[in-house]
């Protein structure tokens, strides 16, 4: 049976390491996630739909998904600009900025939450200049977008950087010699090479932003129906001991994560196929 399950190898330890890994994976990740699915399944269709279509829940999806989408879009634009700057230009402090891009990966979300709130509050470093213009960032949906943009930025930049290095500069030069304008070169040579990576980065940033909790709750203000994200609603349901309702909302978010994980894998496979097809 083993011989059809795996290809033969003289290296030892397959059974032990695979057994330990799957056991540990099951204990820490799979069984707990199964508990979530079972809890949701135990509540019956009508209760399930009642929880999911509650106006407060629907308002929270709108904010969570809308703000995550907007933040991922902002990140795609500025992420491209930053990745381009880091890959193509030499300027003082380039290596320093390149290293600092990963800061949101390493910085605890609670810290970025309180720091962003302090910066964008009405008396904050940046907020004080926005307030006279009538723009309120902290404690509004704009604050949610700002927090989610910070969280998603490294995903987009780090996805695009290697793809930009792949762009063949001799193709760009050839196109320019043949009379192509800057924008034409961008649209026909650079964008097609970078597109799979850009979409992957967008999806990664979006997936991370939808579930984000720590950095958002400080800056959002957390008003029901207005600035309340879905993860916060789950926490509130738990605090009220409505375990089934919390599980149902968690289940929906989990399904979304599955879909996004699947699309990330498909996008990456697509990107690899395009590279192979173009002979690189």
């Amino acid at each position: 049976m083993t011989s059809t399950f795996r290809q033969p190898s003289i290296l030892p330890g397959f059974g032990l390491t695979l057994g330990f890994s799957t056991f540990f994976l099951s204990a820490i990740v799979l069984v707990p996630l199964a508990a979530l699915v079972m809890k949701t399944a135990s509540m019956g269709w009508s209760d399930f739909f009642h929880v999911l279509t509650d106006p407060r829940a629907v308002a929270s999806y709108r904010l969570s998904f809308g703000a995550a989408m907007l933040a991922a879009f902002i990140n795609s634009v500025f992420g491209f600009v930053i990745a381009w700057t880091l890959v193509r230009y030499e300027f003082p402090g380039r290596a320093f900025i390149d290293a600092l891009i990963d800061m949101p990966f390493a910085l605890p979300t609670a810290v970025s939450g309180i720091a962003l709130t302090a910066v964008f509050a009405e008396n904050g470093t940046i907020g004080q200049y926005l307030a006279p213009l009538g723009i309120k960032v902290a404690y509004t949906w704009i604050g949610v977008v700002v927090a989610l943009t910070l969280i998603g930025l490294p995903f987009v930049v780090r996805s695009i950087q290697p793809a930009l290095l792949e762009v063949q500069r001799d193709l760009e030069d050839a196109a320019e010699t043949l009379g192509a304008g800057r924008f034409y070169v961008f649209r026909r040579i650079i964008l097609p090479t970078v597109l799979p990576a850009l979409l992957t980065g967008f999806t990664l940033a979006f997936a991370r932003a939808v579930g984000e909790y720590g950095s958002v709750i400080f800056i959002a203000g957390n008003l029901p129906m207005k600035t309340e994200i879905t993860p916060l609603l789950i926490v509130i349901k738990l605090e009220q001991f409505e375990y089934a309702a919390a599980a149902a909302l968690g289940f929906i978010m989990l399904m979304m994560s599955f879909v996004m994980l699947l699309s990330i894998n498909l996008l990456q496979a697509w990107g690899r196929r395009r590279l192979v097809a173009s002979g690189r």
Binding site: F24, V31, R88, P108, L150
Partner: protein, 290 residues
């Protein structure tokens, strides 16, 4: 050419060989400018604010906020949690990487996807699942109460939730690296009579050690900084089940901003140290990830 001297000059500049035409220089600096402004608002300003707010009332108050016993308890709890979680996830990561990178078997890509799953799950859900398992209404809730074991609102729950969140970090650094370096040297070692463990520690590990360092420090940073998952499961008992990020939230909600930003400044320094090590590893190996 009839548009006057300026236009002629621009056309002349644009026709010069090389990349550095006036237009490309303008584009270059507007790209650099846009990047810097964006990063300054979103990244540099918050970083500086953490330290500025922590030191707002002077160094003395800054240091005295670390004398608070609850703050010290939070730091201890965070260190304890990381000391349990990081080694366990490192052992898991090495074991999973060995099975996945060294052998071909059915269902491998499914296994990789499942290992990556915690990355895509909201931290709140990572905490929620354990409440559903071990909470009073959960699968094991009654049994645990009868045997007087507390998992929720206690250290074991915090450790489990942190473990869930940081689960993939070491494995996903090691797997691609071990696949890339191949099996030849390991097969040679085994053929020459070395045991499995000896092969792993003397042949495989030296080849992937920088990737391992990289995975471990990222895992550690995330473990010490995790907020959402731990927040759901900790119960926020002051001085007992508040980790450093939760303590930041508690002080902040009590309007003790100097205290909150003082603890936050420690976490920020941890993040900066993590980035420095990460950058050194990247320079050393030429790997570039994420």
């Amino acid at each position: 050419m009839a548009g006057g001297p300026n236009k002629a000059l621009l056309a002349e500049i644009a026709s010069r060989p090389g990349r550095d035409t006036l237009a490309s220089t303008l584009i270059k600096w507007s790209f650099i400018g846009a990047s810097l402004v964006f990063l300054a608002a979103l990244l540099f300003a918050p970083l500086i604010t953490v330290f500025a707010a922590a030191l707002e009332k002077g160094w003395q108050l800054y240091f005295s906020s670390f004398k608070d016993p609850d703050t010290l308890a939070a730091i201890r709890l965070t260190l304890t949690t990381a000391a349990i979680v990081v080694p366990l996830n490192t052992v898991f990561g090495m074991s999973a990487a060995w099975a996945i990178a060294k052998f071909e078997f059915k269902g491998k890509s499914l296994l990789i996807t499942l290992i990556d799953l915690p990355m895509a799950v909201s931290p709140v859900i990572s905490g929620l699942v354990y409440v559903l398992l071990f909470g009073m209404q959960g699968w094991f809730g009654l049994w645990l109460q009868e045997h007087d074991i507390s998992i929720i609102y206690a250290l074991p729950g915090i450790v489990l939730a942190t473990m869930f969140v940081t689960f993939p970090y070491v494995a996903r650094e090691l797997i691609p690296l071990m696949q890339q370096v191949g099996n030849d040297e390991e097969e040679a070692a085994i053929t020459l009579g070395a045991g499995g463990l000896m092969t792993f520690f003397h042949v495989t590990l030296p080849k992937v050690r920088w990737g391992l360092v990289y995975g471990v420090i990222l895992c550690n940073a995330r473990a010490m900084g995790e907020f959402g998952a731990v927040s759901v499961i900790s119960g926020h008992i002051r001085g007992l089940t508040t980790t450093m990020p939760l303590h930041v939230e508690m002080l902040y909600n009590e309007y003790n901003f100097v205290g909150a930003f003082a603890v936050a400044s420690l976490l920020t320094m941890l993040a900066l140290v993590t980035l420095v090590i990460k950058t050194l590893v990247e320079w050393r190996t030429g790997i570039r990830k994420h």
